[in-house]
Amino acid sequence: MTAPITTVAMPVTITINGEARDLAVAPFRTLLDVLRNEAGLTGTKKGCDVGDCGACTVLLDGEPVNACLVLAVEVDGRAVTTIEGIAPEPDRLHPLQESFMALGASQCGFCTPGIIVMAKALLDRNPDPTEDEIRFGLAGNICRCTGYTKIVEAIRATARQMAAAGQPRE
């Protein structure tokens, strides 16, 4: 019989952006709150906290999820990638980040980390998406500022650049 895990904090090890982190979390805390508070990574945003806005999008073992709808205790032993972890090296940005800046795809910026992480997940699966595929893929990411046009353009531009550069999609 599994020991009844009570409401008290339990130890978990989560690999966050490649680094194993030992944390103590109560079972009713979300991955989003634990990333922002215990792990000190505030790039992942809390918009709605109920799965509607996508601001909290992170990769869990490479797949995009709403961190607000994942219990942190469930992620024990697994790998999480946040916006802080997608740059290839400390002083270089991910091509998506470069394109978002160059093409003005971010205004207030609140949706941007979630959208860039989601866009990375899309490009990982489909390196050359059409506009329709990008819009379908971003259905769960809400932006109040840009009207989405520049976001779609930035993702398409990134796809073209990465194809031209023959870069591995890290």
């Binding site: 019989m1 599994t2 009844p4 895990i5 009570t6 409401t7 109560a26 079972p27 009713f28 805390r29 979300t30 906290d49 109920v50 799965g51 509607d52 996508g54 999008t57 869990l60 797949e63 995009p64 999820v65 709403n66 607000c68 709808l69 994942v70 219990l71 205790v73 469930e74 989601m118 997940a121 379908f136 893929g137 259905a139 769960g140 990411n141």
Partner: protein, 287 residues
């Protein structure tokens, strides 16, 4: 979120025992995309959450032409949406999966969770019923299985007894020359609940259709068969006149309510239109 005790059982027996011990104060969690929202919004206040994800085998999916489709209770909506076999053999289910929420939600949400939630507008229910699906459960008195068609008893209500856990959804193999379709109608293309959903499954027998099943979603307290429409099509050639009559019959069988998403009249009109389109599309796929 309010505090709850948390369990990660690793066998079905252990889960059944936990449920027996905690009774209705415990909630089962598969994907968690509905449960955690309901806890946050204080619609539910479970004393215990029992996470099913550590039970081996529950995430298994098998799909083949000879044996049919078996969807373990932990199979995600995204897995169904992206499975090439499911897309080929059960296209209406793959389409319904694609129509749910966002990729982030579908990556976590499970088909069995969508079924147990028993929302009248749930997208996967009409195709699962149209394909003649069954649901397998296990409880204190052992395993049992029933037709999905009789599983839903009202909005949010099912035939699942206290202490029982859903283990799998099982769809029979598709007949020769099968055709099916699911069409969802909403106010926007994604992140939307269905205003009306129509699933059709049938097979071609020479120039006529057989074994016609038409299931309507979001127009009654549970998904419903449009039996009068099915009878009109059974053994007939689905030409324009017959399809129009079937649409009209399905419209008459729907019992929608008016709410913030649509009026009852509008829903009835859309049942007519979508039934005609779904029958035509399913027939087209039999070729």
């Amino acid at each position: 979120m309010h505090p709850f005790a948390y369990f990660e059982p690793t066998t079905l027996d252990e889960t059944v025992a936990l449920l027996a011990r905690h009774g209705r104060t415990a909630d089962l969690m598969a994907g968690g995309t509905d449960l955690l929202v309901e806890i946050k919004e204080q619609i539910r206040r479970p004393a215990a959450v029992i996470n099913l994800k550590k039970i081996p085998g529950l995430a298994d999916l098998t799909c083949d032409a000879a044996t049919g489709l078996r969807i373990g209770a932990l199979v995600t909506v995204r897995t169904i949406e992206t499975s090439a076999e499911v897309q080929k053999l059960y296209p209406a289910l793959a389409q319904a999966a694609r129509d749910i929420g966002s990729i982030q939600i579908r990556t976590r949400a499970t088909i069995a969770g969508n079924v147990c939630r028993a929302s009248p507008s749930a997208d996967t229910l009409p195709p699962l019923i149209a394909y003649g699906g069954r649901i397998e459960m296990v409880g204190p008195s052992g395993p049992r299985s029933i037709a999905l068609e009789s599983f839903f008893t009202g909005p949010g209500k099912t035939a699942l007894a206290d202490g029982e856990i859903v283990t799998a959804l099982v769809l029979p193999p598709q007949p020769e020359q099968a055709g099916s379709d699911y069409i969802k109608h909403g106010r926007r293309k994604a992140m939307e609940l269905a205003t009306v959903g129509v699933a059709v499954a049938l097979r071609r027998d020479g120039g006529v259709c057989r074994d016609v099943r038409i299931v309507l979603g979001a127009v009654a307290p549970t998904p419903i068969r449009a039996r009068a429409a099915e009878v009109l099509l059974e053994g007939s050639t689905p030409d324009e006149t017959t399809i129009a009559a079937a649409g009209c019959a399905a419209r008459g069988e729907s019992r929608p309510i008016s709410n913030v998403r649509a009026s009852a009249d509008y829903r009835r009109a859309m049942v007519d239109v979508l039934t005609r389109r779904a029958v035509a599309a399913a027939w087209e796929r039999t070729r």
